[in-house]
Assembly symmetry: C2
Homo-oligomer: 66 residues x 2
DNA sequence: CCCTTATGTAAAGCAAACTTTACGTAAAGC
DNA sequence: GCTTTACGTAAAGTTTGCTTTACATAAGGG
């Protein structure tokens, strides 16, 4: 699944590690989601969106889902 | 996590089994999510919201998250 | 009464999310 | 050159979403 994580992180001047700490997951998890390696849990997606002050739909791209 | 699944399912006159088929998971999975037993994946949450023609935020309640 | 439909629980097993550790690399500063 | 910072990969291990099967119950219709 594509997403705007990298772009939003840059807009907020945040490193992967800082974001990981904020949403309470490991840096690996952020890297893997950023690179589309897997489908995060709903709560994690929500926490990330909240960190960037936007909706889940603005962070994650569902256009290619099913 | 609380959610509006049961209410939306009723509005759409849909059984748990019909919803499960539509979003391609087992009936158990729908039951467990409906009863707040766990945190679904983002893609599943999206598919459910899409089935009810609304946003993820309208189906799931994040007010008690972290 | 019986049968079907819709919902629920429980338990075992599988698949995938997430963690942890370790290592590689490129850029920037001293 | 050396060190630090930020990003990336890989692989093994833990946790949890999700499946499958089986069984229980209440409601409604014939």
């Amino acid at each position: 699944m594509k997403n705007q994580l990298k772009e939003l992180r840059n807009q907020f001047n945040m490193t992967q590690e800082q974001l990981a700490d904020k949403v309470a997951v490991s840096r690996q998890t952020i890297i893997s989601i950023e690179n589309g390696k897997y489908n995060p849990s709903l709560i994690l997606a929500y926490k990330i969106a909240k960190e960037f002050r936007c909706s889940i739909e603005e962070v994650f791209d569902f256009s290619e889902v099913e």
